[in-house]
């Protein structure tokens, strides 16, 4: 049964002073976290707040730079995911870890420590079915994992973890890919597990769900714990405020502009994600000349698919996409580039650049068929190098050797290469996705200045970012992306931090609630 008074019993998990630094950013900066036995504890925070890092440390993926962890009152050092499993900690990742070709039973069997030499399929399947039934859901143990729906896969993984006798379960944004009915099922399972004394960490940023299922809530911001609350003692509004904070060190916002002629028009765009689940559920968007439209939102709400639809790498299943007046829903990336859309992609090292090639090759990427670099089928090496050198100088990119593979350059310089290349083509529209992620202050400033310059010259800029400060500073208009839908765009004066925070988590005026849709 649940512990009413946590102070008497030992905590299931106690983390103190956890510090973890990655190059350039302190992901966890002295975080404390307590998990009582038998409770469902939500970990809340924006991306980059530190919740993923904290749980990755608990599940053994990373080792902390400093801090202590106690499990059931005993200090432990969690050295690897295997170690964590042995300690009874099981993590359900956002992306399924099931082996697609194996059956549910075979996947579960892999985790079982007491399996005999012979693999008796029927017996394992029976145990799997029994365990599932105990928590009130059905799973076909003999089905290959790839045939299951996302929700079913999740439940299968939970069963596997249970058969491994996991007593501490970490669920990383499990509801992100579930339909409402499946979310109900999941919550029922979670309550059942908690009732038997297992402890659950629930990571989410969907405030309505958080308020429904949690016993307690820990809010993280910028790598620190800002609050630990009982569910009864707080509200969605309060949580949104805690998550988003005051944000006073934002750069001075430039004067807001009103845009001119429409450059990009999206109407009712729907698209499926990689796993077949709907990612964009009817997006409407207007981007005009001479303005910056900022799209805020937590990663994973369809931003990646939106980027791909705009650049032609993903075909929408419904809706219309007009670029400078021409219908582009079925256009190839080459056609879209030719029409005048440049893109600074979110993944700069895999998509934005060819990491193993040199600076010249990367800078001429979109210029290869055009003069002076391209001449018919030939590539003019001399002109190409000229072109590259000019760009390097204009944008002060630090490149020690033109032949060196660009993956050896710093993140800032790599991004400047992408920026230089995209702007050099004189685009009418620029899509910038997380352009300053992972960059130091100087480089980030240069990138932002470049975006402003583009706008001032009359181009249209679409900025997709998780950095709310950046969006509020640069965006003339701001919209919020949530669960594959775009809120209406607000002018900068109208857009308050708090409102946006709520929109990001699915609340507030203008947000679309996904109620009874399947």
């Amino acid at each position: 049964m649940r512990n009413g008074d946590g102070s008497i019993d030992a905590l299931a998990v106690r983390m103190r002073g956890i510090r973890k630094r990655f190059p350039g950013v302190a992901a966890a900066d002295g975080v404390d976290f307590d998990l009582r036995r038998g409770e469902i504890h939500t970990l809340l925070g924006e991306n980059g707040a530190g919740k993923s890092t904290l749980m990755q440390i608990l599940s053994g993926l990373y080792r902390p730079d400093a801090g202590e962890i106690e499990i059931d009152g005993r200090p432990v050092a969690i050295r690897s995911p295997r170690n964590a499993l042995a300690l009874g900690i099981g993590m359900l990742h956002q992306h399924s870890m099931l082996i697609p070709r194996h059956t549910v039973a075979e996947n579960a069997a892999l985790l079982m420590p007491d399996l005999s030499f012979l693999y008796r399929a029927r017996e394992i399947e029976r145990r799997v079915a029994e365990t599932a039934q105990r928590y009130g859901f059905a799973v076909d143990p003999g089905a290959p994992a790839w045939q299951l729906s996302v929700g079913e896969q999740q439940r299968a993984e939970i069963v596997a973890l249970l058969l491994r006798r996991a007593r501490i379960l970490i669920l990383d944004e499990p509801t992100a890919v579930l339909a409402p009915a499946e979310i109900r099922s999941l919550f029922a399972v979670m309550r059942g597990l908690a009732a038997e004394g297992r402890s659950i960490v629930f990571i989410s940023h969907k405030l309505d769900e958080v308020m429904e299922i949690s016993d307690r809530i820990t809010v993280l911001r910028k790598g620190r714990r800002v609050a630990v609350l009982d569910r009864a003692a707080t509200s969605e509004r309060a949580l949104a405020r805690l998550m988003v904070g005051r944000g006073c060190d934002a750069p001075a916002p430039a004067a807001a502009r009103t845009g001119g002629l429409p450059v990009v028009e999206l109407r009712g765009i729907e698209a499926f994600g990689d796993r077949g689940a709907p990612a964009l559920r009817g997006v409407d968007l207007d981007l005009r000349c001479g303005e910056i439209l900022g799209i805020a939102g937590v990663s994973g709400n369809g931003q990646r698919e939106l980027e791909q639809v705009l650049t032609g790498l993903r075909k929408p299943s419904a809706g219309r996409y007009r670029l400078l007046g021409r219908e582009m829903s079925a256009a190839s990336p080459a056609a879209i580039i030719a029409r005048g859309l440049a893109c600074i992609p979110g993944d700069r090292s895999r998509v934005g650049t060819a990491a193993g090639l040199g600076a010249v090759e990367n800078l001429i990427l979109k210029r290869r068929r055009l003069p002076p670099v391209g001449a018919g089928i030939l590539l003019r090496a001399g002109e190409a190098e000229e072109w590259a050198r000019e760009l390097i100088e204009r944008y002060s990119i630090s490149v020690p050797d033109l032949r060196l593979p660009v993956r050896l350059l710093s993140g800032g310089n790599l991004q400047k290469i992408v920026l230089a290349r995209e702007l050099a083509s004189g685009p009418r529209a620029l899509l910038a996705v997380h352009p300053t992620r992972g960059l130091d202050i100087g480089a980030a400033g240069e990138v932002r200045a470049a975006l402003l310059t583009m706008r001032d010259c009359g181009a249209a800029v679409l900025l997709i970012s998780e950095d709310l400060d950046e969006i509020l500073a640069l965006g003339d208009r701001v919209a919020v992306m949530h669960r594959g839908r775009l809120s209406g765009a607000m002018r900068r004066g109208e857009a308050h931090r708090e409102t946006i925070g709520l929109l990001m988590t699915g609340q507030g005026p203008g947000a679309e609630r996904v109620e009874a849709e399947g």
């Binding site: 998509v351 060819a354 193993g356």
Partner: protein, 360 residues
């Protein structure tokens, strides 16, 4: 407990590359030397004689060149595919297909002059090889079927096809299972230097052409980008599927030219033993040359020398030809092992034991 562990290295410096390569070669030569010593021959004498035989005499150098030519074409073929991360294991079959096509022209259409035969046979062999490469390319581009398997399987189809012709319609007048000699005009001109034939010019042209194509044409640039990062290529508007087919076809065509050179230059007929494993050795050549055209030329030449020298020391010193195969295999073996040190750095670290913690 301190144990060695591997850590990824960002970039291997030139001196390190040289050191590792030399070290691997040294080990391979040691192994080969041991084998030679086991036969009762002094390894140093053997290696010296090998070099002399391959490169030291006029005749030897000529033989080396003759053997290098098909290796070069097939090496270029495999290396072109490798630049786009495709594996052409079918150079053998494409080579045979090219040889067959050239022979069909030579024996099927009598009475042309030398230039006409040259052009027609060249086109025919390139086309046949290209077909043998394009089919796997198409299957990979459209259906994502592994080109490793399809190119391998097509090798046999080519071999059986040639056998059909050689035992059937193209059977020589004397009834033996090889074809009649080609009309003299269809044979490649001999240059008066050993058995070296005009194919050498074709080979040199191929090397330069491929180098030019890769460095100086838009197509070559696209191949390099796709090979390095297909996602970036797609984002930049490059057509990946079409390029896969084009590259596989071009690679097949190059191997087909190897077949043309062999049957028209060396034998002037389809010989009994057409399958000389050039296709498989070429994979090693391309790998050692790191898929660079000039490198392929160099390595092919060295391998040609290895084969020629090997024949010489077989006759002169009684070292069996199999020792050369052992040497080849071990060179590759040790170079592969050495690659580990180029990609990773060995560090000593405290062992991370992944057991421990009580069971819940």
């Amino acid at each position: 407990m301190i144990v060695p562990a591997l850590e990824k290295r960002l970039q291997a410096t030139r001196p390190l590359r040289a050191a590792v390569t030399l070290g691997s070669l040294a080990l391979a030569l040691l192994l080969g030397g041991a084998v030679i010593a086991a036969v009762g021959v002094n390894p140093l004498d053997a290696y010296a004689a090998l070099c002399r035989g391959a490169f030291g005499t006029r005749y030897g150098l000529a033989e080396t060149t003759v053997k290098a030519i098909p290796l070069l074409f097939c090496g270029l073929s495999v290396s072109l595919a490798l630049r786009m991360r495709l594996w052409n294991i079918g150079a053998e079959g494409q080579y045979v297909a090219g040889a067959l096509a050239a022979s069909l022209v030579a024996l099927g259409i009598p009475g042309f002059g030398r230039p006409a035969y040259f052009v027609l046979m060249l086109l025919a062999s390139f086309a046949a090889g290209a077909l043998w490469g394009a089919v796997p390319g198409l299957l990979r581009a459209r259906l994502n079927v592994s080109e490793i398997i399809t190119t391998l399987l097509l090798n046999w189809v080519a071999i059986y096809l040639v056998q059909f012709f050689v035992y059937g319609p193209l059977r020589g007048a004397d009834g033996f299972p090889f074809t009649s000699p080609f009309p003299p005009a269809a044979c490649l001109a001999q240059l008066g230097w050993g058995r070296v034939h005009a194919g050498i010019f074709l080979a040199a042209a191929a090397v330069l052409a491929l180098r030019f194509a890769l460095e100086r044409t838009v197509w070559g640039y696209e191949v390099r980008v796709i090979g390095d990062s297909p996602e970036c290529a797609r984002y930049a508007g490059m057509a990946i599927g079409r390029n896969i087919v084009a590259v596989m076809a071009a690679a097949g065509g190059l191997a087909g030219l190897a077949g043309f050179c062999q049957v028209a230059g060396v034998e002037c007929r389809i010989p009994r033993e057409i399958f000389a494993q050039y296709g498989y050795t070429a994979i090693i050549v391309a790998w050692l040359a790191r898929a660079r055209p000039l490198g392929v030329a160099l390595v092919a030449f060295l391998f040609g020398g290895l084969l020629t020298g090997g024949e010489m020391i077989q006759i002169d010193l009684g070292v069996p030809i199999s020792a050369i195969n052992i040497l080849t295999g071990s060179i590759l073996f040790f170079l592969l092992a050495g690659d580990l040190f180029l990609d990773y750095r060995v560090v000593m670290r405290r062992a991370v034991s992944s057991r421990g913690g009580a069971d819940g």
